[in-house]
Symmetry: C2
Subunit: 367 residues, 2 copies
């Protein structure tokens, strides 16, 4: 009479019947509730083992109102940066018994919103990497996505934790590094025009220009891939720059490769910098000077913010006078100094000097 339910799978009812107890008791045993008599518990466990019973998480989720799963929306799973965020997030979440559901928007900004909503409803929270989405759309969407953790974005209105990399400062550090080496003509091989993080880099360079009126910074259209860098050789060379900043390491690697093919010596003739410090950056020839972004750690931190948010959301609605009960959490480098509305956690990239940058060549360029 091993009546398995309609779906053909063994359910709690089968175990209850075999053990001669009620559903509730089985449920209690399976959830480690110790109010169950030891002997009965043993009987239930034996029955569960015999039937190879495994609780159905969907039923559990419906009853509990939680899925123990979080979603992440990324613009491009082939980008090492998002891969690293995903990895950091996934590892940290696993530690706390959560899984991650991925949604790749394929760089299509119109997809970002839909995927985000979709993913959110199946999960207990959402980590959003949506570099293309407009601020307005993000602001409108954010409330319906809570618990929400933002990567490299922030919103004014909603109090979603936000993790940001200080790209503006990072690109300035790189430019300063080149200037320190004697370069006076720089070029920036920029990223995707509508990318939020590219805008930050541009803003940083703007500030750099103001602080360094004597330095020429040439802006070159670009993108985010190898190919972009590879195809930019001519543009870079004809810009007359001796120091080239790129959007990220991928672009820098493409450029390095292209320059090599053109017989241009790096860093002898020209210096090249990347951004991100992906793991491959130390294996290029020459090795790549870049800004090191602790991106896996960012993924981990995203999880910390997420779990805090999820937990505090389960508490009774906070009254205006009660201090937010978020304090007992991981240490953040800065930005958690007393303010109640969660300030963005800022990650400061660190300059990593390797072989692709060197002293400016003293050759008779224009100016």
């Amino acid at each position: 009479m091993g009546r398995r339910s309609a779906t053909g799978r063994i359910g709690i009812a089968d175990v209850a019947k075999l053990a001669g107890v009620s559903l509730a008791t089985v449920s209690r045993v399976m959830n480690g509730n110790f109010t169950v008599d030891a002997e009965i518990a043993a009987r239930v466990r034996a029955a569960a083992t015999e039937l190879r019973y495994q609780p159905n998480p969907v039923g559990r989720s419906l009853a509990l109102g939680k899925t123990d799963t979080i979603g992440i929306v990324v613009p491009d799973l082939s980008n090492p940066t998002f891969q690293a965020i995903l990895r950091g997030l996934s590892m940290a979440a696993a530690q706390d018994g959560y899984r991650v559901l991925i949604a790749d928007s394929s760089e299509v900004s119109s997809e970002e919103a839909i995927l985000a909503g979709e993913a959110r409803r199946r999960c207990d929270g959402l980590v959003l990497c949506a570099p293309r989405m407009s601020d307005a759309e993000l602001a409108e969407l954010a409330p319906s996505l809570q618990p929400l953790v933002l990567i490299n974005r922030s919103t004014e209105n909603t109090a979603s934790p936000s993790l940001m990399v200080d790209y503006a400062k990072g690109i300035q550090d790189l430019a300063d590094h080149l200037v320190g080496l004697g370069h006076t003509r720089l070029a920036f091989l920029s990223g995707p025009p509508r990318s939020a993080s590219n805008k930050l880099r541009l803003a940083g360079l703007e500030r750099f220009r103001e602080a360094n009126p004597g330095i020429d910074v040439h802006m070159l259209p670009g993108g985010s891939s190898f190919e972009v860098g590879h195809q930019a050789v001519d543009a870079v060379l004809s810009s007359g720059a001796t120091g080239v900043l790129t959007f990220n390491d991928l672009v820098a690697m493409g450029l390095l490769s292209g320059l090599h093919e053109h017989g241009v010596n790096v860093p002898g003739d020209i210096s090249v910098t990347g951004f991100d410090d992906i793991s491959f950056a130390r294996y290029t020839t020459p090795t790549l000077t870049t800004m090191t972004v602790p991106i896996t750690e960012l993924g981990e931190q995203a999880w910390q913010r997420m779990i805090e948010t999820i937990r505090s959301a389960r508490l009774p609605a906070p009254t205006a006078t009660t201090a937010a009960p978020l304090a007992a959490s991981a240490a953040v480098e800065d930005a958690d100094d007393g303010a109640r509305a969660p300030l963005p956690t800022i990650f400061h990239p660190k300059l990593t000097v390797r072989g692709s940058t060197g002293p400016a060549a003293v050759h008779p360029g224009p100016q």
Copy 2:
């Protein structure tokens, strides 16, 4: 009186009330059932929009017995190979309205089984990359994981689709390539000892040795990372080999980098080959000769096998005399010639010659 249910979210009941219809009608409208009067349907849709109603997928999953989600277990999310499989799978699944849940076993073979079961129960099927799991354990586990698609593994008993890369033949092609360039002393910087795909490579090299008794093939302990290659320089040099095969591109890149630091010329002094053809392989210096594995395509194919399996599982239990209704599916290069039990789909890596291999140096080595 907008009574939102206990969870605080808007449910189908709220819409039904606002539209003045029953739950069933709302459900029908939301699912595009056309037996609903157009006017009523419009009223329901208006109510849904007004309330910003979004169906709860968990309730839906429970009622429907499916989640529209598949799981994938990978040993290491930082490995470009698994990243590519994940990407191919995710993109293809998204096309059909499915999402993917990831489980990273962190190379811990004991975790593979647990994670696999865990993930499977939350999903409609599972893609398993479990290179460390023993054949016995895999065979025992497989039945409980169906629908199951195996990557680089296969089982005798259960009829799970299996996608395999012919590593044995691939490594032989690489060895042949080196021999064709005049190399007679080869070394193989092997992969993780217990890795299934490493065993295939070793088997391939065994066959190579039998076919090429005059060629010396030195076996070197290794691993799967940059660092392994980077640290193997001394071992490689003292092996006296002029042609070095490596477990994968990562190891090859590490080796290339290490050799460069030691002032060893590649391919002048020594030739190096990788395996996989990850996207970075064409940007190393020198560019890397390797076996190109269509790994993203493998991920896509994994999805095709998965969706076929899911669909056929929904059909009435197949009778012994009925031909399996799987035929109407994507073209597979080979291996689908009439046999009923699904033969593994074999992916044949293709030799891609780049700059890291060249003629053997004519220097007076021993022998």
